[in-house]
């Protein structure tokens, strides 16, 4: 198996570490089980991850793969492609670095739409050194059309939905999973995107699935997770208000059939996506639309709390924003990264199915 939590990673984030384009890199550093020995970004070489994120035993940023061994005196088992560019194409300049890694026998963990296992040159070089290329976004060959059966699971299913892409839907569920597990709840995060899959080593890359099978992929994820868990935390994707990706969002909603939704937004964004001409709607309007679409398939899924991504604000400003969101919606609002996820988890437990009730069958 190509995924193993013991494998040491170098993360490629050339030219954009710490920026929104490196959200896969940041996600894996923050939440992944794997040790990260270095980040590759020649434009930030000499700095450290702590300079940008202020977290974890610090990780150096280097300019080349050579430096990892020469200067850091360590080796790595895999090169993780730590960006998620629009459309997913491979920047040509990066190919040399990937070839270099493969030649050294390092695996490549690739979350792009572009399938590296279908590139003859990369394949050949991997074959020669015995390295393995993991195309994280390659869905399993046979996904079903959704049957709607996820509505019947005994477990409590919660989905994060959002105002936009990259507002914190994955992060919120990872934070809630952590604290729920600490409390002894059989909770599981269900990865639906490349970053989540690289963090957990399993999942369905829902945006890469053939359109007819998006809901079926989400359903499969929930049915599997429900076998051994009482609280299923499904990673949301996209937004019903994002004209580029809304179909993915709706397929995920109707396939996973959540009992409840948690709405996520980031402070300071005024438009949805980039260039679509869509202002971020009011919280009330977003709640109305998400609840309307859940109810459209006779599986009402009330929005029960609000996750606010307060990146870049002070604690005081953040508290004001949370209060504003609570006053506007009458729902608990919190930023799990800044203040912890207790209140979001509590909203789930308060709303919930009884997580201790016996399962079917």
């Amino acid at each position: 198996m190509v995924y193993h939590p013991g494998k040491k990673l170098v993360i490629l984030a050339e030219g954009c570490f710490g920026q929104s384009g490196s959200k896969t890199a940041i996600g894996v550093i923050r939440y992944g089980a794997n040790p990260v020995v270095a980040v590759l970004d020649s434009t930030r070489a000499g700095k450290t991850v702590a300079d940008y994120l202020g977290i974890r035993p610090d990780i150096p940023i280097v300019a080349t793969l050579d430096e990892v061994q020469d200067q850091l005196g360590t080796t790595a088992d895999a090169l993780l492609i730590g960006i998620a560019p629009r459309g997913g194409a491979l920047p040509e300049a990066w190919k040399a670095i990937i070839l270099q890694a493969l030649d050294r026998g390092m695996d490549v963990w690739n979350g792009l739409h572009l399938m590296m296992t279908e590139d003859p040159e990369l394949n050949e070089r991997a074959h020669r050194s015995g390295a393995i290329i993991w195309d994280v976004r390659k869905p399993s060959a046979s996904l079903p059309v959704s049957s709607g059966h996820a509505r019947h699971v005994a477990a409590h299913v919660v989905l994060t939905v959002g105002s936009d892409c990259s507002v914190g839907k994955m992060t919120a569920m990872l934070e809630v999973e952590k604290i729920a597990q600490q409390r002894g709840i059989r909770a599981i995060f269900c990865p639906t995107g490349q970053t989540g899959i690289m963090i957990k080593g399993w999942g369905v890359p829902i945006d890469r699935v053939i359109a007819d099978f998006v809901a079926g992929g989400a359903e499969k994820l929930v049915l599997e997770a429900a076998e051994d868990n009482d609280l299923i935390l499904v990673e949301g994707q996209g937004s019903l208000f994002h004209a580029g990706y809304s179909g993915v969002t709706l397929g995920l909603l109707h396939g996973s059939m959540p009992d409840h939704q948690v709405l996520c937004y980031q402070v300071g964004r005024s438009t949805v996506g980039d260039g679509y001409g869509v202002p971020v709607p009011s919280l009330a309007e977003m709640i109305r639309v998400y609840e309307t679409m859940a109810a459209a398939v006779q599986k009402p899924a009330p929005v029960i709390s609000i996750v606010v991504n307060t990146l870049g604000m002070s604690d005081t400003e953040s508290r004001e924003e949370l209060k504003r969101a609570e006053d506007e919606t009458g729902l608990p609002a919190d930023d799990p990264v800044r203040f912890g996820s207790e209140r979001i988890l509590q909203s789930i437990l308060d709303a919930g199915k009884d997580l201790k009730k016996p399962k079917r069958g």
Copy 2:
């Protein structure tokens, strides 16, 4: 080019001609430009297409490919796979017939999810005889993520939406295209499904596209069609109320950015899909949800008329149903197959952008 309107077709509809599973067969017979010399369905051999559809210069139904030449004294250029089973897998029993066709040098037009060009045996046999396999559902390699630009086209864009799959969304737009063109309007039907693509020889198989690119595929279709046309009639897919396919429907809506929607339903259906436990909503509720989701990306697209599929009813019953739909919605309602598409076209012209206004750029 594999598609040519002069190619003579045999349509494979084994075991289900005239039933809902043969909607591709029926669609191509009704609306395709290609001559159809026979339908293959051993369970109905000896009957004719007129026995089931009552249309067109009549077409014999035969049990085997041999009979086409032996008994009918004609040859065919292509075998068209005339079914669209759930999930798209190839019934094993059909493979022998397909191989037989390929061995005779007949092309195969395949609308299933299963890609016949990826089957080594079929490929080898096609190669040997010089036949061509057309995987209709294979999308072009490079579709973009939607940019939202379809909202800016000067042409009037209309999308059919529906209560469910297979209610008449394609048929309605084909009927409207025909009469609009007869009136001298530069109108074009934009195919988004395998049947529409086999009828017109072009299009985007939107349900086969990778989920991230559904809206982008729809946008591409509209932008291309808008270059030479004033009225763009986009074939709808699925339903926002169908938990299996709603993501496809929403991606198509947000990619094509219609100015108006035409809502289609079939009389007598009580549930959406099969086994999803979703009753068909009221017309008012369906209109509300479709208009909500168009407005969600700041491109309001009012529902302007109702297409009623009155299959199986008498003319009198049909007129009563149309009146009921009109009374309930305040919108014109008609069945284009039974009564012609004048009223639906008129609803578009009445609502419309001025179709004669000069185009941008």
